[in-house]
Symmetry: C5
């Protein structure tokens, strides 16, 4: 996630990092160079003057704009749903921590229970980013659990099961009245929803065919465009082609980036910062004072 103060309107024209320009530069260069060549050849391909006007572009442009809009709304909806799911992990782990501390008769069982929730949060992040959870698991779980979770294919699901087992222990040891247990099952169930929701977003992309159709339309459009503009705007053709191509390519690239919100690109969700925040607030609820350092953006990007 890019963290950046409000910029002056002029400064904003020259932002580099966070503008997806780096990743679309090659195709933008090729398109503009092609437009330049077309302009210099006066729209002739060998001897044939390609007869195009703005009309086809106006007809295609409409559909293109609507589908760029659809694509971006859909990608953004995935991004935001992913954010909401991580928000709900924060909300439900807090609720569970509060319940472990206040529905029980004494608060001594809460810390190990809450540590399982923290481990769940980190394990989910590692699963989504395909990184190694063993460091986080080692500092939060009992030895036999580390082994059990480390072996598991669906680690966060097993951690929720372990949380349930700790709750069973509290109940069988009489630390919590059975009549209060259903109240704790509600947030546990919602953690299961959040886990499954993240797995759903990670495993099911927008149907690939949308990307193909949109991509083809955009690129055909931009490569044919110089022929359509040349007769009316002459020497400005490459400028306008570059401008339009930038808008289209950048929106396509941004859509592709935030469609998979769990990555570590500049516009992806700051899962590292979010899970540190969850750990900090849960530790604070347990009465700990040292909540660890606040995550700091590196080069404006929070990961």
């Amino acid at each position: 996630m890019i963290v950046r103060p409000n910029l002056h309107w002029l400064r904003m024209m020259f932002v580099w990092r966070g503008s997806v320009l780096p990743s679309i530069l090659p195709q933008l260069g090729v398109t503009t160079a092609f437009a330049l060549v077309v302009t210099l050849c006066h729209g002739r391909l060998f001897a044939w003057k390609i007869p195009l006007t703005f009309v086809p572009f106006s007809l295609i442009g409409l559909t293109l704009a609507i589908f760029l809009g659809f694509r971006n709304s859909t990608s953004y909806a995935r991004y935001w749903e992913a954010r909401v799911l991580w928000g709900s992990i924060l909300n439900e782990t807090r609720s569970l921590a509060r319940q472990a501390l206040t529905l029980t008769d004494d608060a001594s069982d809460a810390p190990p229970f809450v540590r399982v929730l923290i481990a769940f949060t980190h394990a989910l992040r590692h699963q989504l980013r395909d990184s190694d959870p063993s460091g986080d698991l080692a500092r939060l779980l009992e030895p036999h659990e580390i082994e059990r979770v480390g072996r598991a294919q669906f680690k966060p699901a097993v951690l929720l099961l372990i949380a349930g087992e700790r709750l069973r222990e509290m109940r069988t040891r009489g630390q919590i009245a059975p009549v209060l247990v259903p109240a704790m099952e509600i947030p546990l169930g919602r953690l299961s929803d959040a886990l499954g929701g993240c797995e759903r977003i990670a495993s099911t992309p927008i149907p690939f065919t949308y990307a193909v159709i949109l991509h083809r339309t955009i690129y055909l459009y931009c490569f044919l465009l110089p022929f359509g503009l040349l007769d009316s705007i002459h020497g400005m053709t490459p400028v306008i082609v570059a401008f339009l191509s930038y808008t289209f390519f950048a929106l396509e690239a941004l859509g592709a980036e935030i469609e998979h919100p769990f990555g570590v690109e500049p516009n992806d969700l700051a899962l590292g910062a979010i899970s540190s925040g969850i750990e900090a607030t849960l530790r604070e609820m347990l009465g700990e004072r040292d909540l660890g350092p606040k995550p700091e953006p590196v080069d404006y990007v929070l990961i």
Copy 2:
């Protein structure tokens, strides 16, 4: 579902499988050939020069684009809702498995209960795809249940009832305190919602008349288009007609495909992989080690 790595922008122009091109090739060919004929005859039908300009296409194009947009958003919403429903089957069966393992006094009753949930998942997939569930039922249920479910018209609904009966057994045998039973009724109810939601999407298409109006507008548009373009872009007419027709036909075909997300076409949901995944995670929660093979895409398509 098509599983595919990020492709280079040039590679993406030549994707074949997953581009719906195969299914729209006939009409695309006919339209383009017609445009070619019109171009060669200079827009004359017998002796009459059809007098058309771009104006009507610009007027119609707007409505067309907006309705293509509506159609696609609606189809995609159905696709995504179907995916969310299957996601909720994962979430709720996991919750039920956790509860069967931790709300009871010993975990011995959990495996047969969880196997009913796995059978429910497979039975729903078979119902939606109209395939034969008997293999999956046979390996998961007791003999008398196989007979009972096999005979049933609404198999997944009967399986949920059987899950409820197993829960009743646990309760009457004192394995679970009555006060904890309502906590398990919540995910059972949500499985009922997910089942009914899938049946709703499968049985109620987008009103057929939308498809008719959209289809007619698209095809009339594409067949009249060469007359409207000829006078301004001459020899490029067939190229542009092919381009525009591809965009329109492809979007219409894709909409029609993902509107029914439970099929086995390349852009449909990978129900097979999803239900294997549910079975694997539930088995893991029961402590089993052999979770079966991970589903592998065949020719980039996961079914």
Copy 3:
């Protein structure tokens, strides 16, 4: 609801039933005839040549398209919400049937309770379609209840109350533990939501003024259009006017039809089939074998 197999793309151009053509034929005829007259008079009204170009239509067309889009999305949202509500009636009655069979100590109280739910379903359908519920009530209820419900103004609401009374009986007779009753109150509450939701859609149309503004804009547009097209497309004017008018009129008519999804027109919800399906699945859960005939579409339409 129109049930129809996938049609060939050519076949689809000539669909009659389900294309709303029948209901818009008069105005389509008038508009086209008027365009023909205008073309034959060369755009003169008496001696005055009406001076119009495509420009105003391009300006108006934009707003028109956006509002047609709004109207259709809103109508479709009502249609789909109505379908979801009926889906939730299926889900919740199934949940209640499962609970009546498995939360009780023996299953003997379930059948009369479930029959009240079936009666609720049919009574709601009759209320929404303004048809006579007495046949369905008579075969499902006790005599004194038939009288009580028959007299009631809000029949489905009274049937939910009767369901609650049967649940009270089970509780006071010790058939169900009080601690399990709240689990059954949840789906009962949701049936109340579904009932109220259907009543809301039935009683509150989209504000009438939207229809008025849209209708006027469409008709003024289509009647002025020939004057604007004549000078550029001459003899094709009536063809294009007919084409555009068809698109606009058809979308308006379809919007008006599905805005009220509880009727018996071809594009309305198949409430009859849905409620038969609910009855069949509930009967099957009670162990009955004869579930009645499956509803069959008549002339492709399922009512």
Copy 4:
């Protein structure tokens, strides 16, 4: 709310009431008169011929249409959310009435409890419409409650508290088992949500700046339009300006009207009819026969 039968397509062109025409007539007249003057002066302002073509209007028109669309969708969403909230008041009061009648041991405590719910409904309507609730309160509450509610600033919230107090009484008098009380707390909580939701819509309009930007763009557009049309459509300029202005002004006015759905204008919600309906269904559940007259539309408008 305007209640009106389906009109013939021709009849619909001449609807007066419910077409917001009355409220936009002044500005429509001014704009059209101005267009007429511009036409008669041949677009000259003093000696200067204002040089405008349709181009700027085409560029602005796009943004304008999209924002009119946004405005209307947002206004309609508020209108519909308000309707849904009132629908949920119906649903939850019915659920509470059913519970008061069937979760208790005898039904004698239900009528006074239900009367508080009816009073809540009317009090909320009066609060939203800023009308005097004392008549309704007087016929439904006990004397000391009338005084207490009459003095309150947040009357419906206090009525929900009184409902809670009656429930406490039932519980302490042993009329309802404590284990059943949480089931009644759920609909009580939802009534609190509906109350707060209505207050939210009433107190938080769409940001005023949207209205300002949209209003300015519309009016500048309509006043500059005659200069842009004159050279191409000459004498038809005032007609087209009147047509476009009507569409824009009417949509803006309708948006402003339904943005505040709790008023008593023709397109506002029929809160009077809705709350009478709630009272009637609740009384019927209590076994009363005289449910009061059904609300009748006056001059097609139901208030």
Copy 5:
């Protein structure tokens, strides 16, 4: 939040405060001045006449409009979600106050419990606006709690924990039956959701790259526009450029403002008024008479 009566349509053209004009005046001035210079130089840059027509602007304008639409819808959705979350704080604190007063055996424990909820509300407002909560905390909490909360990094979360602790006290002192506690855990959990939801909106902006792409497109568009208009509308160029730039810049600025709805700018949410309102209604439920002054808008703005 700007509070303003319905204005006359003419008056609305000259609104200053609340029109974001103040904040976009510099760039609007620069753009218009540049258009003026271009007009005076007849579109020449040094000796070169920049060859541009309206065509590129028509092509770009479409995408621009759709993305302005996306941006505004998204910003507004954040604004409205933030409002809904604060609405839910009102609803849930009212529910908790009702429960503290009516689920307990006597009402003496309610006031300190409710005061913690009021403190939660104010602490959340201070956290979101980065202001000092100590004044509000000091008047609402016990001394040892003031110290504990003051030290906390996540103050509202700790206050919810304290609310839970007071509930535990009521339960252990026998003031509330354990079977009723789960009913109070539901609104407590929802307050946790509202808290987390506000933190989510505050900490996760719309991906920065959207703002960059949109900003660049708007400004390039407006600076190139005079060259494209000059040849067709001559002296009116600066007027139209100013008009279009105003629309674009104002919508961009408004989007940026309401994207962060917790600030203190004129179009932000009136968190001060909302939290005073919550305090007033909760105090009234406790039977207090002096509810404090109603918040008054200063210069039409409610903060």
